[in-house]
Every structure is written in structure tokens, then in C-alpha cells.
């Protein structure tokens, strides 16, 4: 046990001796185990220097942060499907049917989870690291964004039939029972005193389809589409952020005369809120909305998981999967297993697809980008 020379410059050291007792004084000795001895008047006290306590505190914190951050590894038979808002009911049925289908083929029961939200914010979660193996979103442009982040190949849309859209939908009008404002087509929406409810195209994928459908009608009918769409949005008293919010505003709050809605949302509103309150009006021209599906390559961990994810997406194209889409008011492709009344309820109408607008890669910045045509409606430039 060696002592430091007495003439060393005075340095105060803080030590801890027990949980609640700390002391401070000039250091006189370093022990081999890291403790130090300080002089306290006539006594000497030995304890752990406080700097060391801070270090161990940081180590404990780092460990707990690591424990929080390090999520358990996804098991191979688990699948996360990140989807958009109005597909809740559809995928609840699809997941159950697919699980049975998968087990019938001799596999263990898969654990399938589905997350729903606005299409754009769902895409952002996946870009920022949500481990979704499968995305089923409202707009191809949202999946394009994920592809740009390097999570799936740029030509993802060619990998499955029908532009990777196992089901499609369109935009129709939901009006109050008896159609008191006599709304028959897009042109009636800008009549004096008509209030139109649509979500905000900036935050809602569905609302972008609403906007493009109105644009397409104006083009077909020899009107200036920009002026018509501008006029239309001046009849909108409330811009909700999502499709479900707009449906609530129209149906529950009694705002507006007509709701521009996904066809499947309109039928769902009829079913849930009562067919005695609303009517569906189908316009002469509307848009072919193609909500696409894709496998997120970067989040596939094992060959088994890839097989499961592929089987899940392929299942949507099987007669059974298509029948479920019809049941949930989507316009699917294969009617062979669908109930006839589910197919018959869709009236035929003139559908314009996104290719007419040059694809999402062109339409998105031109119409909905910062300073695009939609912004100009309000800023008047």
C-alpha cells in the first residue's frame, strides 16, 4: 500500500461509500480494484469514485436502450401486410381464408398481421424501416416511392397480372336518400348551392382518384378540366385527411350533399349506416382505380418467408381470393367463384385509367406536387 506524495496539488475527488452516502476530499490513494481513498480531516474514507458510477450508469442505460431497440427477429412463418385504410374488412377475410389454404397445403399455420392507415404514411413507414414483407397500397406511386428507396425492384408492377392489381375500384357519388339535389353526373356537382365532400388529395390516395375522375369527365365533355376541378373544390366545405374521415363527415355529421367515395366505401356506408339514408349515384365517366400489391424484397429474410409472401399475393388472384374481393365491393377480375349477386351489383361505366394521365410518375408531381395544379386552385396562380 503506497501513498501519494503529500505535496501533490490538491484535487478533490467525490466518492460513494454506500447507496446514500457520498463524500468529497483530496485523493490520497488508488486501490487495485478501482476504489480510491480520500482524506477527510483526521479519517480516511474508501469508496468508488463517482466518475466510475457515471460510467456504469451509462453502461446500464446503453444496455436497456439496446434491449428496447433490438426487436426480436421475425420468425420465418410470420408475414406483415402493410395496407391502406378501406381494406380492413377485406384483409380480415383474406387472412383467415389464406391461413386455411396454406395449412391445407401441409404448411404450419402462418402468423399474418395487417396494418392499415393512409396510403402515403404507410409507404413512409416501410421506407423508414417497418419490416413489411408485403405492401397492398392505394396508389402505385406510393409503392414506387418504396422502390426508389431500394426496397424492391423498379419494375415491380410488371411482376403480377393486371398491373399488379388483383382488384380494382372506381369513384362514385353517395347522395342523401331520394337525391334531393338531383345529382346525376359530375357537371351537377358545381351547381349553385351544392356542397361536395371529398378528402384532401394531398393526404388521401382516394381523393387523388376523385380529382382525376372529375378531370377525366371534364375532358370528355369539352370543358376546361382545370377550371372545372377548381370550381368543384370551391364547393368543398371540409377537406378531411382520409377517406374514412370524409365518410364520417358526410354520413354522421350531415355535412354536404354528395360524397365522392371509393365504390367499396360507398357500398360499405350503405350496408353499415343504412340503405334508407343514402343512394349511390354512378356518374357517366369515372376512373379505374388500381390499388396494387407488391413483395418487399429487402424485408424478406428466408426462402420460406419468400414462399409464404408470394403465396399470399398469388392467393389474391385465385378464384377464392377474387370472390372475397367481389364480396367486399371491389371490382375484381375472375368471377368464376364469386357469388353472382356480388358481381351483378356493379353497373358498367366509362372508366379512364391512370395511363390516360401519363401514369403516376407524371400525374403525381403535375397535379398533386408542391405548387402543382391542385395547390393552384387555392393559391390562385
Amino acid at each position: 500500500m503506497t501513498s501519494h506524495p503529500r505535496n501533490e496539488p490538491l484535487m478533490l475527488t467525490t466518492i460513494r461509500m454506500s447507496r446514500h452516502i457520498s463524500a468529497q476530499g483530496p485523493k490520497i490513494h488508488d486501490h487495485a480494484d478501482g476504489r480510491v481513498t480520500i482524506r477527510d480531516g483526521a479519517r480516511t474514507l474508501t469508496g468508488w469514485p463517482v466518475a466510475r458510477v457515471i460510467r456504469s450508469a451509462i453502461a446500464i442505460l446503453a444496455l436497456s436502450v439496446a434491449a428496447l431497440g433490438g426487436a426480436p427477429q421475425a420468425r420465418a412463418e410470420a408475414l406483415l401486410n402493410v395496407s391502406y385504410d378501406p381494406t380492413r374488412e377485406l384483409y380480415r377475410d383474406v387472412n383467415a381464408a389464406f391461413a386455411k389454404h396454406w395449412q391445407d397445403q401441409g404448411h404450419p399455420a402462418p402468423r399474418i398481421e395487417t396494418s392499415h392507415g393512409g396510403s402515403g404514411s404507410q409507404a413512409r413507414s416501410v421506407i423508414e424501416g417497418l419490416k413489411a414483407q408485403v405492401v397492398t397500397l392505394a396508389l402505385a406511386s406510393d409503392i414506387d416511392r418504396i422502390a426508389q428507396a431500394g426496397k424492391l425492384p423498379a419494375d415491380w408492377q410488371a411482376s403480377r397480372p393486371h398491373n399488379s392489381s388483383p382488384y380494382t375500384s372506381t369513384i362514385v357519388f353517395l347522395v342523401r336518400k331520394g337525391n334531393p339535389k338531383a345529382i346525376k353526373d359530375w357537371g351537377d356537382l358545381v351547381a349553385e348551392g351544392v356542397e361536395v365532400i371529398t378528402p384532401n388529395p394531398k393526404t388521401s390516395g382516394g381523393a387523388r382518384w376523385n380529382y382525376l375522375a372529375a378531370w377525366a369527365w371534364a375532358e370528355r365533355n369539352g370543358k376546361d378540366p382545370k377550371a372545372f376541378v377548381g370550381d368543384l373544390f370551391r364547393h368543398v366545405p371540409v377537406l378531411d385527411s382520409g377517406a374514412r374521415g370524409a365518410t364520417t363527415t358526410f354520413a354522421q355529421r350531415g355535412i354536404g350533399d354528395v360524397l365522392l367515395a371509393w365504390e367499396n366505401e360507398a357500398y360499405l356506408a350503405l350496408k353499415e349506416l343504412g340503405a334508407d339514408q343514402f343512394d349511390i349515384v354512378v356518374p357517366s365517366v369515372s376512373i379505374l382505380a388500381e390499388p396494387p400489391v407488391a413483395l418487399v424484397e429487402a424485408n424478406i429474410e428466408t426462402p420460406e418467408q419468400r414462399a409464404l409472401a408470394n403465396a399470399y399475393l398469388d392467393f389474391l388472384y385465385t378464384p377464392q381470393g377474387q370472390a372475397l374481393a367481389f364480396k367486399h365491393y371491389y371490382r375484381a377480375w375472375d368471377t368464376s367463384a364469386a357469388a353472382p349477386e356480388d358481381v351483378a351489383r356493379f353497373p358498367a361505366l366509362d372508366l379512364v385509367d391512370i395511363g390516360h394521365f401519363g401514369g403516376w410518375a407524371k400525374a403525381q408531381p403535375e397535379h398533386f406536387g408542391d405548387g402543382g395544379i391542385f395547390d393552384q386552385i387555392y393559391t390562385g396562380k
Partner: protein
């Protein structure tokens, strides 16, 4: 030379370490990330994003209504705290507990409930409509939502101060010939002011950043009822992180300036009064 202290708290090292680490993780790191993102965008880019009529309209709407709501809460919160402390009446404890409800309720629930009440077909909204007053989907609706989320702050910061004020002080003031208004202005208010200003600042800060409840009751029409936090969400939907950062930084700067001003007023009032 030496100093031995017994303290019920863990030692300085441990508490300081935990405090700093937590503060960094929870507060400083996100704000730092915002600043770094903004620095990458450049001052010119930030200004170009902010200096647009739509952004100015949203910022002015957010801060104007937040200031109004905080001012309303300042008055109503003090009144509420005064009633709860000074008077005894049946149901006082229930009301006392109800003051905290806006903290406990998810803001989305509050927004939907307020919208249901104040929409033209709601209980209050239909009455207001008869006199031609539109509440939901307008600035009044936003104001009401902001008052709701900010109410507990003033009441809760002022309440303990009122409990400390002796009735004798008011009686002394009265016996010396002061009128009730004079007593309120020169005796009570100086004691309440520091706490009331803190409550005002908290209520203001809460209102400026509020998104969940307002989004349901505001009409969200650009230039009219579009709040600044919604503009940030819109920029994010477009994957325009720089635009979102710019508006976020603008809000941070204005909030900081407002809070600084409130703190300066507090310091000034403390100097003037000398205590509390």
C-alpha cells in the same frame, strides 16, 4: 475540507448521468435532428418554403388562435382554480378531477367528440346554426378544441398559489380602504402572475403543436382553416422532408420567441414585486 452528506436521492453522478442521458434521448436528439435536416436544406431553401402565402396563412392561423385560446384559458383557468380553492360546494372534488380530463383523453377522441357536439347537426351546433353561427369546420371550432386541450395548464399551475394566499391579506387590504378591484389588481394579481404566466405559456405551447383534436373539427381548407401542423403532415405525405423541416423550424422559432418573451415578462414582474 471534507463534506459528508446523507441524501435520500442517489448520488450526484448517477442522477446527473440519468438526467442528461434521458434529456438527450427524449428532447435534444429529435430537435437536433430537425436542425441538422434544416441545415442540410440551406437557409435559402428554408425561406423559399416558408415564404409562401399558404404557409404564412397557416402559421398565422395556428399562432393567432393558440394565443387567443391561451388568453381565454388564462382568464377561465384562474377563475376555475379560484372557485375550486376558495369555495366549498357539493361535487367540488368531482369538478377538481374533471379538470385533468383533457390530459387523459386521447386528443383524437376529444376532437371527434367536440365535432359531434358542434357540427351543424350536433347538440350545440344545431342551436348555433339557428342564429347563423357556424362553429365546427371553421375557426371557432379550432378555437374550442385548443381551449379544451390547454385548459388544465393554467388551472393546475395557479391552484397551489391560490391555496397559499391568506384571506387575511385581502381583509387587510380592505380595512386599509382598498376597493375590491384595487385589491384584485394590486394585491392578488401580483402574487398570481408568475404562476399564471407559466400556465399561459404551457397552454400556448400545447395549442400551437396540437394536431389530433383540431384536425377533426377544422375544415382544413387551405388559406382558411388549415393549421400549420397539417401543412407539415401534407409535406410528409409528399415525401418532402425538407419542406416539412422548414415549416417545423419556423414553428420552433416562433414558439421559442414567444416563450422567451413570456419568460422575460416573468423575470420583469419578479423584479418589480420582489418575491414569489
Amino acid at each position: 475540507m471534507a463534506l459528508i452528506q446523507r441524501s435520500p436521492m442517489p448520488g450526484l453522478g448517477l442522477s446527473m448521468g440519468i438526467t442528461l442521458t434521458m434529456l438527450s434521448i427524449v428532447v435534444l436528439a429529435p430537435i437536433g435532428a430537425l436542425l441538422v435536416q434544416g441545415a442540410g436544406f440551406g437557409l435559402a431553401g428554408l425561406w423559399d418554403t416558408i415564404n409562401r402565402p399558404r404557409v404564412w396563412a397557416a402559421l398565422s392561423l395556428s399562432f393567432r388562435l393558440s394565443l387567443l385560446a391561451a388568453a381565454f384559458n388564462l382568464f377561465f383557468g384562474i377563475l376555475l382554480a379560484w372557485v375550486l380553492v376558495r369555495y366549498r360546494f357539493p361535487g367540488r372534488r368531482l369538478i377538481d378531477a374533471a379538470v385533468d380530463l383533457p390530459f387523459a383523453l386521447p386528443t383524437a377522441v376529444a376532437g371527434i367528440a367536440l365535432t359531434a357536439l358542434y357540427a351543424p347537426n350536433g347538440a350545440f351546433g344545431s342551436l348555433a346554426r339557428e342564429i347563423g353561427w357556424k362553429i365546427a369546420y371553421g375557426q371557432w371550432g379550432i378555437f374550442i378544441a385548443l381551449v379544451f386541450v390547454g385548459l388544465p395548464f393554467v388551472a393546475r399551475t395557479v391552484q397551489p398559489v391560490i391555496e397559499e394566499i391568506d384571506r387575511e391579506v385581502e381583509e387587510a387590504s380592505a380595512t386599509l380602504g382598498a376597493s375590491r378591484a384595487y385589491t384584485l389588481r394590486r394585491v392578488i394579481w401580483p402574487m398570481l402572475m408568475p404562476a399564471a404566466l407559466t400556465g399561459f405559456a404551457l397552454s400556448l405551447a400545447r395549442a400551437v403543436g396540437e394536431y389530433g383534436s383540431v384536425i377533426f373539427i377544422a375544415g382544413n381548407i387551405p388559406l382558411k382553416t388549415e393549421i400549420a401542423p397539417l401543412l407539415i403532415v401534407i409535406q410528409l405525405e409528399e415525401f418532402n422532408y425538407n419542406g416539412a423541416t422548414a415549416i417545423g423550424l419556423a414553428m420552433l422559432t416562433i414558439s421559442f420567441a414567444l416563450l422567451l418573451a413570456i419568460n422575460l415578462i416573468q423575470i420583469w414582474s419578479r423584479r418589480r414585486i420582489g418575491h414569489v
